[in-house]
C-alpha cells in the first residue's frame, strides 16, 4: 500500500486527504453496492438456477441452461425485433423532428426562450401521465384523435387494438415525449456554433445548404450523437410506457424485451430465467454506456 512515501511535512495532510476522500465517497458507494450491485449479483446467481419466487424451495444449479434457452428462443428473437423496430423508429423520428425544431428555433431571434420552455413540457411529465393521456386520446370510440380524423372525413383507426398500429402508437407517444430532449441538446449545439464561421461563409457566397452541411452539421453532430445514444439506452430499457399504453398487446405486438422480462418474472414467476434475461440486457446497456462515455470524452477533449 505505502508506495513512494511523500516528504514528511506533506504526509499528514495527504493522509488526512485520503481519509476524507474515503469518508466522503464510501457512504455513496455502499448504498450503490447494497441497492444495485448486490441485487445484480443475486440475479447473476439466480440466472444459473431454476429458482421460482412463488414455488419457493431450493434453487437447483442448471449452468448456462437459462442463457441458451433465451438466446435460442424464437419468442425472444421476436421481442428483440419488436424492441429494435421501436428503438430505431422512435429514436430516429425524434432525432429528425427534434433537430428540425431546434434548427427552426435557432433561426428566430424573438421568443426563443418561451418557445424552448413550451416545447420542453412533454419531457417533464411522468410516463404514467403521458401513457394514460395518450390512451385516452387514442381511444377508438371517443378518443379525440379519431374524432379529428372523422371530422376531416377520414376513417377511424383502432390505434391500440390492432397489431401494427399499436406499435406505431407506441413510437408516436415516445416521440412526443422525447423529441424535446433531442431538441434541447441540438439547440445547445446550434447556438454554440460561432457566428464568424457563417459570416466568413457568406463572404465566400456559400449557399445555405453548403453552410449547413459544412459548418452547422459537423459542429452539432457530436452533441447530437450523444443525445441519440442516450435516448437509445433509455428506449431500450423502456417499460412504464408500454405497461400503461398497451400492456404489451394486442397479442404480443408491443411486447419489448423489458416488458417480456416483466412477464417472465412476475406473471410466469420463472425467476431464474428472468434473471438470466436481465443479465443479458444489462450487458447490452453496459456496452451502450461505454459508447456514450467514449463520445463524451471525445467531446470534452475537443
Amino acid at each position: 500500500m505505502a508506495s513512494a512515501t511523500p516528504p514528511a511535512p506533506g504526509r499528514s495532510r495527504r493522509l488526512s486527504d485520503r481519509g476524507l476522500a474515503v469518508a466522503f465517497i464510501s457512504p455513496a458507494l455502499l448504498l450503490l453496492l447494497a441497492m444495485s450491485v448486490f441485487p445484480l449479483l443475486w440475479a447473476l446467481y439466480l440466472s444459473f438456477t431454476d429458482y421460482s419466487a412463488t414455488r419457493g424451495g431450493p434453487a437447483h444449479f442448471i449452468g448456462f441452461g437459462n442463457y441458451t434457452a433465451i438466446l435460442t428462443s424464437a419468442q425472444v428473437h421476436q421481442r428483440a425485433l419488436t424492441t429494435l423496430i421501436y428503438v430505431v423508429g422512435a429514436v430516429g423520428l425524434q432525432t429528425v423532428l427534434g433537430f428540425a425544431i431546434a434548427y427552426l428555433i435557432s433561426r428566430r431571434t424573438h421568443g426563443r426562450g418561451l418557445l424552448t420552455t413550451l416545447f420542453l413540457v412533454p419531457m417533464m411529465l411522468s410516463p404514467v401521465v403521458v401513457g394514460l393521456f395518450w390512451r385516452f386520446m387514442l381511444d377508438a370510440q371517443f378518443g379525440v384523435i379519431n374524432s379529428m380524423l372523422g371530422s376531416l372525413g377520414l376513417g377511424q383507426v383502432e390505434w391500440l387494438t390492432r397489431q401494427r398500429t399499436a406499435l406505431i402508437s407506441l413510437i408516436v407517444v415516445d416521440t412526443w415525449q422525447w423529441t424535446p430532449f433531442i431538441m434541447l441538446i441540438a439547440l445547445a449545439g446550434l447556438t454554440a456554433v460561432p457566428k464568424y464561421l457563417y459570416e466568413a461563409a457568406s463572404i465566400d457566397r456559400a449557399s445555405e445548404w453548403f453552410r449547413f452541411r459544412t459548418i452547422t452539421l459537423p459542429l452539432v453532430w457530436p452533441l447530437l450523437l450523444i443525445a441519440v445514444l442516450f435516448r437509445a439506452i433509455e428506449a431500450f430499457r423502456l417499460f412504464d410506457l408500454v405497461y400503461i399504453l398497451t400492456n404489451g398487446g394486442p397479442g404480443v405486438s408491443t411486447e419489448t424485451l423489458s416488458f417480456h422480462v416483466y412477464k417472465v418474472a412476475f406473471l410466469g414467476f420463472n425467476t431464474g430465467t428472468a434473471s438470466a434475461y436481465g443479465i443479458l440486457m444489462v450487458l447490452v446497456v453496459i456496452v451502450l454506456t461505454q459508447l456514450y462515455l467514449r463520445y463524451l470524452n471525445k467531446l470534452k477533449e475537443g
Binding site: 455513496a28 458507494l29 417533464m124 374524432s147 430499457r237 444489462v282
Partner: protein
C-alpha cells in the same frame, strides 16, 4: 451563381421568377418557418391542453362524440374527487400524493447528503481508479429498472422492506446518487481548488475549507441537482408499482395508473389527477431551466 439568402429578398410575385425552393425569398421563407414552428408547437402542446380541458369538463362532455373543443360546461368536480373521497374524508389519491411528497423529498435529501460530498471528493482528490469508479456509478443509473426490480423484490421480501416507504426511499436514493455525483462533480470542478488551498494556508483544515468556503459556492448547483432528483423520484413508476401494494404506502404514479383498472374509466378524474400531479414538476422544471441540459444528460454535458 450562388446568392446569399439575405440579398435575394424579393418583393415581387415569386411565381413569375420561378425561383428554386431553396432560394425562396427571405420573408416568404421566414413566414414559412414561423408557420411550421407554430404548427409543431400546437401539435406538441395539444395533448397537455386536452388533458387540462378534460379535467374541467362535465362527464357527458368528456365522452362526447365528436369531441367537444369549445362550449362545454366547466366543472371543478373532478378536482374535488381527486382530494375528497366519495363519502367525505380524504381520498386514496390524496394519500398517495402525500406519500409521493414524503418519498420524493426524503430520497432526494438522502441522495444529496451522500452524493455532494462524494462529488467533491472525486473532483478534488486523486482517487484510485477514478474513471472506473465513475463509470460504474454511471452504469448503475442506466440499468433497466425491470431487471433490477426482480432481485430487489426478493431482497426486500427477506428484510421486510416490501410495501414500505423506506424501501422506496432507499431505492430512489440509490438511483439518484449517481446522478447527483455526476452533476455535482461538474459544479465542483468550476470552483477553483485554490480557494481551499488558500484557506488551508490560513490554518483551516481541509474539511473546514470545504465546509466554509466551497460548500456555500455550491448551493445553487446543489439546489438544481436536488430538483432534478426530486422530479425523477416524483415521476418514477416501475419500482413504485412492484414494491408497494397498500393504499397507505403507494405513491401517486401507481395510484393514478390504478384508476384505469376497471371496465369503465373515469377519464375526467384521471385528467384532474394527472394535472395536479404534473403541476409541481412543471414548476420545478421552470426553476431549473438554466440547468436543463446538464440535468437531462446526468450532468455529463454542460452548456
Amino acid at each position: 451563381m450562388a446568392v446569399s439568402v439575405d440579398e435575394a429578398v424579393s418583393t415581387g410575385p415569386a411565381r413569375d421568377r420561378t425561383p428554386p425552393a431553396r432560394r425562396l425569398g427571405g420573408r416568404g421563407r421566414s413566414v414559412l418557418e414561423v408557420a411550421l414552428l407554430t404548427l409543431l408547437a400546437v401539435v406538441m402542446l395539444f395533448p397537455v391542453l386536452w388533458m387540462i380541458e378534460t379535467s374541467i369538463k362535465e362527464n357527458r362532455d368528456v365522452y362526447a362524440i365528436p369531441a367537444k373543443f369549445f362550449g362545454f360546461t366547466v366543472t371543478m368536480d373532478h378536482f374535488k374527487d381527486v382530494f375528497v373521497a366519495p363519502g367525505g374524508g380524504r381520498s386514496a389519491l390524496s394519500v398517495s400524493f402525500l406519500n409521493s411528497v414524503v418519498v420524493a423529498g426524503v430520497s432526494t435529501l438522502l441522495a444529496t447528503v451522500l452524493g455532494v460530498p462524494a462529488a467533491w471528493a472525486y473532483s478534488r482528490f486523486a482517487v484510485k481508479a477514478k474513471k472506473d469508479q465513475l463509470f460504474f456509478i454511471l452504469s448503475t443509473r442506466f440499468m433497466p429498472p425491470v431487471v433490477v426490480v426482480v432481485p430487489i423484490f426478493l431482497m426486500y421480501r427477506q428484510v421486510g422492506l416490501i410495501d414500505s416507504k423506506l424501501g422506496l426511499i432507499l431505492i430512489y436514493a440509490a438511483f439518484n446518487v449517481p446522478f447527483t455525483i455526476w452533476m455535482m462533480k461538474g459544479f465542483v470542478d468550476e470552483v477553483p481548488a485554490e480557494y481551499e488551498d488558500a484557506a488551508m494556508l490560513d490554518g483551516y483544515t481541509r474539511l473546514q475549507a470545504f465546509w466554509r468556503f466551497t460548500l456555500p459556492l455550491l448551493v445553487p448547483g446543489i439546489a438544481a441537482t436536488a430538483v432534478f432528483a426530486l422530479i425523477f423520484s416524483w415521476n418514477e413508476f416501475v419500482f413504485a408499482i412492484f414494491l408497494t401494494s397498500s393504499d397507505s404506502v403507494r405513491t401517486a404514479p401507481p395510484a393514478i395508473a390504478g384508476l384505469i383498472g376497471g371496465t369503465t374509466v373515469d377519464w375526467g378524474l384521471v385528467a384532474a389527477a394527472s394535472v395536479v400531479f404534473a403541476l409541481p414538476v412543471l414548476v420545478f422544471a421552470y426553476l431549473v431551466r438554466k440547468h436543463l441540459i446538464a440535468g437531462v444528460t446526468l450532468g455529463a454535458v454542460r452548456r
